[in-house]
């Protein structure tokens, strides 16, 4: 009898504990789920709908109809030519992120991680651009290039007209700004590497290059994959500071997809009905880009996780 009572009490306790666990789980998951529903499902649901809408207020009343016109617009020859220019520039910034920003950031992070000469000072200096808002940095940079270095370039470089040096100076700015954010992430990830592993590698006679490649990189591979996934996902939204530099007026030759999309829906550049129509075109372009970028991003992530270096 007593045994039965104990069993019953234990079952109740277990049930209570299960309930509490469920309550904790629901509480913890509710907020992110709510955020996902609000800021992804609802927002994007409207965006997807807008991609197929035509807006007309010419009669004095808003009339919304559904068609494929917005999608078809981006397949017309004139638009394809402009989009291709933007895509090329966006791909260039993606390549820069992967093949320039990432390797240099990794190497520099390793330098700081290993506490080499004046590492802390460099860490502060490299991180400074991330603290100052990018608008202020752009203003400094514009004056620096167009005034201080005007003798070197034979006049103003950063402006609405085409200039042979312009793409270069914008890329330099982009790289400078990109290093700082990345370095902090890599240093944090590297700090998770157990010192004993590094020491073991040292005892085994590994040089710095081997330690970096065979010990540290595998340890932080997850971070590297995450950042590459972000770079790919960023492909269609990265405007490479062009709006901060030029407002509406970046030269066509330097525009990225992100800037193109952003500029399409700039209030002031277009107003009212034109803006309403452009919102819908931008939604259509966004939808098409998602259909391209999302699978590519997932594929890259899976390939990197499958074939990348392993800690063991």
């Amino acid at each position: 009898m007593t045994g039965q009572k104990l069993n019953a009490a234990s079952a109740v306790k277990k049930k209570m504990s299960k309930k509490r666990g469920m309550l904790f789980y629901v509480t913890m998951i509710a907020f992110p789920l709510l955020q996902f529903v609000l800021f992804y499902v609802i927002v994007n649901f409207n965006s997807v709908l807008m991609a197929f809408q035509n807006y007309d207020n010419s009669t004095g009343k808003e009339v919304i109809t559904f068609s494929w016109d917005n999608i078809a617009y981006f397949f017309s020859a004139d638009v394809v030519v402009d989009l291709w220019l933007c895509i090329k520039n966006s791909l260039m910034y993606l390549a820069l992120n992967i093949f320039v920003v990432m390797p240099i950031s990794l190497l520099f992070s390793y330098y700081v991680f290993k506490k080499f000469h004046m590492a802390k000072l460099f860490k502060v200096i490299m991180y400074l651009p991330s603290i100052v808002c990018s608008t202020a940095m752009v203003i400094f940079y514009k004056y620096y290039i167009n005034d201080a270095l005007s003798g070197l370039f034979g006049g103003s470089v950063i402006g609405p007209i085409f200039n042979a040096y312009q793409q270069g100076v914008i890329i330099v700015f982009y790289l400078l700004m990109s290093f700082s954010g990345n370095i902090l992430l890599y240093i944090n990830a590297m700090c998770q590497t157990p010192e004993s592993v590094i020491e073991a590698a040292n005892i085994d006679g590994a040089n710095e290059g081997r330690i970096f490649l065979n010990v540290v990189v595998p340890q932080i591979w997850g971070t590297i994959v995450s950042l590459i996934v972000i770079f790919f996902a960023w492909l269609a939204t990265n405007q490479a500071y062009l709006f901060t530099f030029y407002g509406f007026n970046a030269n066509r030759e330097y525009q990225t997809i992100g800037y193109y999309l952003f500029n399409m829906i700039q209030d002031g550049r277009f107003t009212g009905a034109a803006l309403e129509q452009n919102y819908r075109k931008a939604s259509a372009l966004g939808l098409m880009l998602t259909l391209i970028v999302a699978p590519v991003t997932i594929l890259v992530r899976n390939l990197m996780l499958k074939y990348g270096p392993k800690e063991d």
Binding site: L121, N146, F248, N251, G272
Partner: protein, 562 residues
């Protein structure tokens, strides 16, 4: 070493903090406290270049006028709560759920707001006389009769009015009258470059002989072709204009300056020249897509411009324009001529090392409108040569806080050739600024909001606007002699342009239903000069395509738009 790092880090942080402190501007707007014994009227005004002095005065006067009025139970008088900032409305939905009652904004697409149902019907206000006091109104003209005809055409939606025009403004070529006098930059009586050959333009003495030797010398008739008018001595034709830019450089003056960040100013100026070349009737076709076009350029089968035997551009036969043929308007001859003018702004065409016509920083993204104004007004202080013309909108004079002793004028745009001298002027106002009331305004506050809007349409209120801003409301009204006497030279120049019998100001806005259906096509920044889906500005196009001529650019536009 550790201390060294800390000191350097601290220094860098201090430098940054200093930068922020210097860069920040204190907002001096007064914090208003709600006076519960009064009815509150919330007014939002786009406080751009025109400033808010005029509106502050009128608000204070309105509050005084209605000091003993009762609109809500237990409340006496009106308190205007001001939101005078640079904040814009992003669309009709932006008005929903906001406490604002009256809006005075720019970049408003009227029909989108009407369709959005967020504007209060103001028909009763428009069909009444303007309020001048709590119990008094004007007796001369109803507000509806003060609306400029071209505005009335599109404000009137099936007999209902939902907004009233705020200001009218165009992008202008502004010049320093005193500098023109000192340097003798006026054409002497009877002189013109109309018969000049290329060799003549390159001949300094021939160019110099066109201009007055002394400020008091008799001057040639300007573009209006009439003697003793305010445009005397100013270039009457494109060729005169070209000669003036060459002569300016002979006398050490840089012909033009504009800002390099907002190139829409340049598009606005060339749009204005296009309208001036076309005339009001033909230009209006672009906002209706309905009528007969008689200035279209003829193209051959390859899309090339056809010329007459004498080298002039051949015009096509009269063409009926409707929605299906709207793109033909891209072939208006006035636009082709405006492109020639755009080239003149860049270069005098002599091909020598001094042929550039603009200040070197004008295509520098860091060279703002404020910089351009400052360089134009104070060349000595900026250690540069004097500048002939500033390209800027009508708001710049107030924005730059120009002192009243400066004599600044607006250049009447030159005509394409001598045959066009004396023909009427047409300007376009492209900022779409309106006064309107939020549809969500409570029933108790609606009478105050309507009274305030009505008061702003009184002659007195509109004259106050002009007195402070040196520009005009987009309404029909005149100025008293007293006001005119106290106005700056710039204000008088605006007045002369505006009150000239032969000047029509067209709002750059779709008027007909067909045009409204094509609103995205009609953006003033992209409509006339795009050769691809990106924005194109004529001056930037010419800079980016060194070998382009006005004709080749015109053909490229057609190739894209056809």
């Amino acid at each position: 070493m550790k201390n060294m790092v800390k000191i350097i880090s601290l220094l860098l942080c201090l430098m940054m903090a200093f930068g922020f402190a210097v860069g920040c501007r204190r907002d001096n707007s007064d914090d208003q406290k709600v006076n519960k014994s009064k009815t509150q009227l919330y007014v939002k005004y786009y406080n751009g270049g025109f400033g808010d002095e005029w509106l502050n005065q009128l608000c204070a006067e309105f509050e005084e006028m209605y000091a003993d009025a009762h609109f809500e139970e237990g409340k006496t008088g009106v308190q205007i709560m001001k939101e005078f900032t640079r904040g814009q409305l992003t669309g009709p939905n932006d008005m929903k759920g906001k406490p604002i009652n009256v809006y005075l904004m720019e970049n408003i697409d009227y029909y989108t707001y009407v369709a959005g149902g967020t504007m209060l019907d103001l028909t009763d206000v428009v069909n009444d006389f303007a309020v001048t006091g709590k119990d008094t109104k004007e007796t001369d003209k109803k507000i509806v009769n003060k609306i400029i005809d071209s505005y009335d055409e599109f404000l009137n939606v099936s007999g209902k009015y939902y907004a009233l025009p705020l200001f009218e403004t165009s992008i202008n070529l502004n010049y320093d009258i005193d500098m023109f006098e000192q340097r003798g930059l006026y054409f002497a009586e009877g002189k013109t470059a109309e018969d000049f050959t290329e060799a003549d333009f390159a001949n300094e003495s021939k160019i110099s002989a066109l201009f007055v030797n002394d400020a008091d010398d008799a001057r040639a008739n300007g573009p209006d072709g009439k003697p003793t008018t305010s445009d005397d001595g100013l270039p009457a034709t494109y060729k005169d204009f070209r000669a003036l830019t060459i002569y300016m450089k002979i006398t050490g003056v840089t012909p033009f300056v504009w800002n390099g960040y907002e190139t829409g100013y340049l598009t606005g100026l060339i749009n204005d020249m296009w309208a001036n070349n076309e005339g009001a009737e033909q230009m209006k076709l672009n906002f209706t897509f309905d009528g007969v076009a008689n200035t279209l350029v003829e193209l051959d089968g390859n899309g090339k411009v056809v010329k007459n035997a004498d080298g002039t551009i051949k015009l096509a036969r009269e063409t009926d324009i409707d929605e299906s043929k709207k793109n033909l308007l891209q072939l208006q001859k006035g636009k082709l001529d405006a492109l020639e003018f755009a080239k003149l702004l860049l270069d005098d065409g002599l091909g020598n090392k001094n042929s550039t016509n603009y200040y070197s920083k004008s295509f520098d993204s860091g060279f703002s409108n404020i910089n351009a104004q400052n360089y134009f007004l104070d060349p000595d202080g900026n250690n540069i040569d004097p500048i002939g013309f500033l390209v800027d909108g009508g708001w710049w004079y107030n924005e730059a806080k120009v002192s009243n002793d400066r004599n600044i004028g607006i250049l009447p745009l030159p005509k394409t050739d001598a045959n066009q001298i004396g023909k009427p002027n047409t300007k376009v106002s492209d900022r779409s600024s309106f006064i309107f009331v939020n549809n969500e305004t409570s029933t108790a506050v609606q009478p105050v909001a309507k009274a305030f809007v009505s008061f702003l349409q009184s002659d007195y209120a509109m004259e106050t606007y002009t007195k402070y801003t040196n520009t005009f409301r987009a309404m029909k009204y005149d100025l008293s002699k007293k006001t005119l006497d106290t106005m700056s030279a710039y204000g008088k120049s605006v007045y002369a342009t505006r009150n000239s019998d032969d000047t029509t100001v067209l709002p750059w806005t779709p008027i007909s239903q067909v045009a409204r259906k094509n609103a995205s096509l009609l953006s003033y920044r992209t409509y006339g000069f795009s050769v691809n889906t990106q924005e194109n500005n004529p001056l930037i196009y010419f800079k980016d395509h060194a070998n382009a001529t006005a004709v080749s650019y015109f053909e490229a536009i057609w190739n894209y738009r056809k």
